[in-house]
Amino acid sequence: MSPLADLSFEVLDGVVVARLQGEIDMSNASDLGAAITARVPSDARGLVVDLTAVHYLDSAGIKALFELRERLMGRGQEIKLAFADDSPIATTLEYAGVQSTLGSAPTVQGAIADLED
């Protein structure tokens, strides 16, 4: 079986960018969350989770994102999401009523810029 989701990392302007691809559900959400947490050093300016290439996200994924946010907030770090306004991610967050709670921007660059504000 090919893996459900792919994860890669980049550092731009001191911000860790975690790029996700594919589908996130109960089978991989917490593992992905843990993998991302492990890659954010305490001196990073913040974390951007790039979801532009994710085409499925459900409540398990939302839960993992919230947990990630909590862990980073404990260290004084912020998290921003990147996804298109009309993507499945936007739909899921809207259905779950959390579209504004987790800050987001349509692009990675936009999300990085938001972190600086």
């Binding site: 090919s2 559900d25 109960m26 939302i62 919230f66 739909t91 259905y95």
Partner: protein, 556 residues
Amino acid sequence: MASEDAPQLISIPGPGQEFLGTGDPLTLEETPGQLEHIYRLADPALSELALEPLLDELLARAKDILRVDTVAILLLDENGNELVARAAKGLEEEVERGVRIPVGEGFAGRIAAGRRPIYIADVHHADILNPILRMKGVRSLLGVPLLVEGSALGVLHVGTVTPREFTNADAALLQLVAAQAAPAIDRARLFEALDREHRSAVALQRSLLPDRLPDLVGIDCATRYLPARAEVGGDWYDVIDLPGGHVGLAIGDVAGHGLRAAALMGQLRAGLRAYALDGHSPADTLKRLDRMLQTISGRGMATAGYAVVDPASGTMRYASAGHPPPIVVRAGREAHLLEVKAAPPLGSLPFAAFHETQERLAPGDTILLYTDGLIERRREPLTAGLERLRALAATRATAEQLCQRVVEQLLPPGGGDDDIAVVALRVVPVEAAMRVRFAADPRVLSQMRRMLSRWLREHGAQPDEIAAMTLACGEACGNAIEHAYAPGVAYFELEATHANGLVTLRVRDTGRWRAPRGANRGRGLKIIAAGVDELDLHTTEAGTEVVMRRRLGAPK
């Protein structure tokens, strides 16, 4: 003692007194007794025997005719440095104890090195390495080389426990025995070496081919692989589980046979799979494979075909590199050859270009890939075999039945000279109602989503409806997984029905639905509510059932 009357025999009377012969051929006296001996030793019936019985029979006759107490055959080992006892009469211990004599040393060693007969009148006075000869009390020895095309592959010697003067005639008869034995031994060794190579090639080939087909949603897949009888070839097949629920089907045929072809096949199979998993199109995949093959030194050539099938839409894209065309079977009604744009085999032309053909497979249709071993027959044009295959394939059958049928009907009696590989993929017709039992494991969720979205699509749902309902169902199934419990493995069931534009999804499990606890459970319910028109929950002693309904084509 050396005798002036027998100049042709090389005699070793004692250490330091070695005589090298003149090399004149030995002659036989044609007396009636001798003739009879010759017939016995040159008996054509002997050539019918396999190696072991042949040696056994020859040695027995030689021992009898020459009136000796021991007869033995030693053969050169693989390195050609030592002689190893192989068969013996009266000297069986020599064989059992694995006595080894270095070439050039001792009695047998000098025969092999010099490629000439040697006669030892009395072993007490000679340089004999072999402890067994001494042990047995052998006194006189006569030995000749076993020659094939001028090189020695071993030694044949006879001995007596009482001193004996071997004559020219004795030596000639012994050489007659050697002349029978040597070619037979040579042939047998050749077959042994070929067989070893064949067996390791077969082992390599088996390890390179997939041993389990992936579990794929919405399709029915079967394969067959029949290696060639005599020598391994380089045929391969592959079924690749691609992202997004697509399936890759590969078929290939490396030119040539043996270990080399099998090894190259392994490289090509792995290369194609890697390019396919990277998401390259069929044409691009073959192009990359072709370029890769060009970089392998001593490269061969291979034909190949690669298809990517999307079971959800039934779309198939196919590219070929000189490979016979796949057969498209329309739900048991008819079968035809896929029209393929011609392209050269991999590795045959620099900068070759590969093209794609597209075809739609409706539910129930099958695509069949194969290698030419299935259709090639001697003294028959390839098109005849192809037509035979096509006609056979036009049948209502599952992928498994189709593979079985074509192989049974087309395999030549006694097996083929060429490998045969077959892959069949059938798009499974969508049921009016879908009812599936899943193990209560988070890993089944992606499979559930694929099956449900395909089912919804076939029932006319729009993409946004499919996304919303799949998401809702995903939440319900996730909940079932979380609180499912049972002795042993826990399961949940998904049932999807469609009547007059109303879709009903039921998720049944054996657990108890827990009221939303923590923020996240509430989110799950909200997601379901947003995706469907109605949500009902029944909890009984047996378990929980979640029922979700949505009207298709109505705004939400």
